[in-house]
Amino acid sequence: MTKKPLLEIKNLHVHYITNEGTVQAINDLNLELYPGETLGLVGETGAGKTTTALAMMRLVPNPPGKIVSGEVLYKGKNLVEMKEADLRKIRGNQISMIFQDPMTSLNPIMTVGDQIREGIMLHQKVDKATATKRAMDMLEVVGIPMERYDEYPHQFSGGMKQRVVIAISLSCNPEILIADEPTTALDVTIQAQVLQLMENLKVEFDTSMLMITHDLGVVAKVCDHVAIMYAGTVIEHAQKHKLYRTPKHPYTIGLFESIPNVHETTERLKPIIGLMPDPTDLPTGCTFHPRCPHAMDICKVEFPEVTHLSDEHWVRCHLYPADKEVE
């Protein structure tokens, strides 16, 4: 634990308050992102991945969403309590985001060039002509000819639009790039291209990246560290190879076992028994205990704290004794 994290989330709770009840989307979530690394945030649909990403930029739609408690520390500054005007200087500038669906994340009545230029004009003290030039350069960087600056989003394909979104997010050379399932909405060949592009640009722009995905293949390809999310919290956080070789949390183990092995003939797939809990009515104690093959009595009562198993590998499970007992 010598390196200092660039971004750290501490005990974050986010709720969506609806007429049908309070949805506990994020529950006591902890996460660290170190400079230069790519962290994969993995979880099922509804685990709270996108909410985590939005909370990091304080973009959770309010109402109905509300950051109830916790901290998001960027270089030691708490973004949860920051003034809106100060936060705007960070959004798109130091922390920027790529969204899931490129078809809807661009403004249909604005040229793609202008949409890239907008961010540049907001955060860099340059005149219009310079900003236009930079926006054109960004288009070239993501592999779109700059002659297409004046075209509108509907004139681009899905993969091209996602390239434009990437250009927008990288236009101010951010320190942190949050990519919320950037390839989910694209077809497989384009997925590979866009992932490759993101990997290259991450190195070129020297950016830390949070890659949100439910695709363990994407994680294996691009990430250095992995955080596994379940029912609104990170239950295991480790260096990629460690996690793939020695997963500790029963959920993580189940997740890997559910992937069929290409070298063996598999008669039946091995799913994790049960379903994700209803976020309006979470189980007591560890939220995974109703599905856990190793559930103990304590799991039903007490939510496990973080246990550091080794450097850069922690887990939240009662199977592993808590930190203080080890020390």
């Binding site: 705007r88 500038n93 994340s105 403004n107 009545i109 604005m110």
Partner: protein
């Protein structure tokens, strides 16, 4: 784009023909003898026959319709008024600018109230401002405008003596009629702006703009409003047409010499050529306004623009 406009202008021809055919047919089948009604009970058979001859009332339906179209197309002649033997075209044309001005002012009032209030309501949904303005919008759409006009005359002209109660020449005379005719339109525009904006500000590209670090005010004006504009513009166009035809009551209350009043008087006296001419003028204006709105769509939305090429 020019080709599109030309095509739309050509399409106006069947529209106008259709409108003419429908009004002509309906008036043809209305009971009552125009000759008798115009000349009075005392008129002799000879006089009546002479009247029918002048106005071509003895011809059959088809002949009369064909003659009407022929005269309209080749001589810009919409016939003579039964009442005062004046050419209908000149009579309607002389009153038309007043009606147009009244409807235009009404729409202007409605836009300048409706759009800002709608935007604020949407951005502060469920706030006090939103609730109050939605209540006013509901009152605005449900209040009959002749009643509202009379209340305003009572208050501003009779009680406060601030504004004149009739006429349409000076600016002061125009205020009350414009407010009267603009109120319900303002309410409709407010509600449409609000719902359209509410839909747009939930879109992903608004979140993208926020994630860029853009200011909330700029997000509304630069990203949201443009995208919300199409339904708003549509409603404005339709309302304008409605005001053109529906200004009758307002014109009567404020004693404004517009097409609406001319037509109501003409209907009472079975002065068919005048009714026909008035309807035609309004139909043409309505079509032109709608064409203008469609062109505006192309200006507002590049996706529509690319279809016109």
């Amino acid at each position: 784009m020019l080709r599109y406009i030309a095509r739309r202008l050509l399409l106006l021809i069947p529209v106008i023909l259709g409108v003419t055919l429908i009004t002509f047919t309906m008036l043809y089948f209305t009971p009552g003898d125009p000759a008798r009604l115009t000349l009075g009970e005392q008129a002799g058979a000879e006089q009546l026959e002479q009247f029918r001859e002048i106005h071509g009332l003895n011809d059959g339906y088809v002949v009369r319709f064909v003659n009407y179209i022929k005269n309209a197309v080749f001589h810009q002649d919409l016939g003579l008024s039964y009442r005062n033997r004046q050419p209908v075209f000149a009579e309607v044309a002389s009153r038309f600018p007043t009606t147009l001005k009244l409807a235009g002012l009404g729409v202007l009032v409605a836009i300048s109230i409706g759009i800002p209030v709608g935007i604020i309501s949407a951005t502060k949904q469920y706030s006090l401002f939103d609730s109050v303005s939605m209540i006013f919008a509901l009152i605005g759409v449900s209040m009959p405008n002749f009643w509202q006009g009379m209340l305003m005359i009572l208050f501003f002209s009779v009680y406060l003596k601030w504004l004149p109660s009739s006429g349409f020449n000076t600016f002061q005379q125009m205020i009350l009629p414009a407010l009267t005719i603009g109120t319900s339109t303002a309410a409709v525009i407010t509600r449409m702006t609000r719902s359209s904006m509410l839909e747009v500000i939930r879109q992903d590209y608004i979140r993208t703009a926020r994630a860029k670090g853009q200011k909330e005010s700029k997000i509304i004006t630069r990203h949201a409003l443009g995208n919300a504009m199409i339904p708003i513009v549509t409603v404005i166009g339709l309302q304008f047409g409605y005001l053109l035809g529906g200004a009758v009551l307002t014109e009567s209350i404020f004693g404004i010499p517009g097409v609406g009043r001319l037509m109501v008087d003409a209907i009472k006296q079975k002065d068919y050529p005048v009714v026909q001419g008035g309807v035609l003028f309004i139909a043409v204006t309505f079509s032109v306004v709608n064409l203008f709105i469609d062109i505006l769509y192309a200006y507002l939305d590049p996706r529509i623009r690319s279809q016109y090429k």
